[in-house]
Symmetry: C2
Amino acid sequence: MKSISASRIIHMVNEAHRQPPGSIKAHILVAAKAEFAQYGFEGARMQRVADRAALPKPNIHYHFKSKQQLYLAVLERIIESWNLAFDQVSQESDPAEALEAFIRQKLKQAQQDPAASRLFANEMIQGAPNLKHYLNTSMRSWVQDRALVIKQWMLAGTIGDVDPERLIFLIWSATQHYADFQVQALSLLNRAEFDDPVLTETADFLVTFILRGCGLSPRDRPS
Amino acid sequence: MKSISASRIIHMVNEAHRQPPGSIKAHILVAAKAEFAQYGFEGARMQRVADRAALPKPNIHYHFKSKQQLYLAVLERIIESWNLAFDQVSQESDPAEALEAFIRQKLKQAQQDPAASRLFANEMIQGAPNLKHYLNTSMRSWVQDRALVIKQWMLAGTIGDVDPERLIFLIWSATQHYADFQVQALSLLNRAEFDDPVLTETADFLVTFILRGCGLSPRDRPS
DNA sequence: GTTATTACTGACCAAACGGTCAATATCTTA
DNA sequence: TAAGATATTGACCGTTTGGTCAGTAATAAC
């Protein structure tokens, strides 16, 4: 195995992953995301990435040194874009409103970029070989922050008794599943595609159901 | 592409997939399930299947003609084992009891055979290239039968207002996620492994939460 | 307009891939 | 125990894989 230090790899990736939207690197990253999402790291083929990007294969290798590095660049881009949607919530927020916003946002994310969701799913299924650190640091503290707020809501009596970590995990699973298992969902719901009407119906169901699960009623909306 | 008719493939698979538990074919199928679950079809390597089974590679090819056929045999075995757990439920069943049994059963399945769950997840992520027919026939009618019972419960007022298909999908997602995203769940819950105590806590949470989401209280249990 | 740098690509390579095959061992049954 | 069928395997094959490289085009700097 070539001895390239982890920090050097991370440095190179950091250079590569934030590209102006129209750039060729950004274009390759989009193609690679789709490929890795569908086939996983080992199943992905550099030739197919090139075909998806409509570029010769060596061109891909010019911009990204190796398959591994391309994968890491895609992965970092996804995590970063998810962190941007790091919505603010506090003890003072209304639980129903905050949870509803969170559910709708997660579901919209899953619909707008199912490839990102599937790539992440592949990484988790394989035991997160490239995201173990993320799971034990950023993700964990993010969850703990939110869990603390939920616990405070519980103490204040503005929400029912629920395990906050498991609640967050359930919301993630319920929303992500519509991206990862889209074919199953569409067959089950007898729909052709995951379009806006399906999104709205699904979001409404999830909000109602989960809020009820938390001992809350969904706030009234103009109908 | 070789022209082998679909029925011939299915016939061959049917011959292969039900093996006495101690047989070599069964042993290979277990190894292959783990490999396909972790890497997906394209990412799986026949050599690694052989290594997992502690057999020379040609031995695998003696028992299963091709990678594709081995994969199909594993898939059929999983679907079949899931169909065996086809628990009976009717209009007369108690909704809370029936849902609780369903949730606990699904979660236990996910814990006892996470590889099966992950293999299925991989197949869904790729758009179910080998399970489209299953999704549109067996799975669909299974869901519709259960959905009908849930609708009757709703008419009888023994359960709150919920979209039955989406409820089933949510239960699947919430339970399967603990197998597919096990590393994430363990990190989030600060646990080392998905053992029986975690299983029980998780099942209790899911039962309470989902029943509340359906407008039900979990039936009392001796504590 | 020359030069230096960056971007691109057809042709190629060693290694790994799924799969084969002839030779051998191990069971069945008469 | 001979004969046939089944099971096993070391050595091998054509193809595909991730990746390279020399040569060329395009761009930027002076």
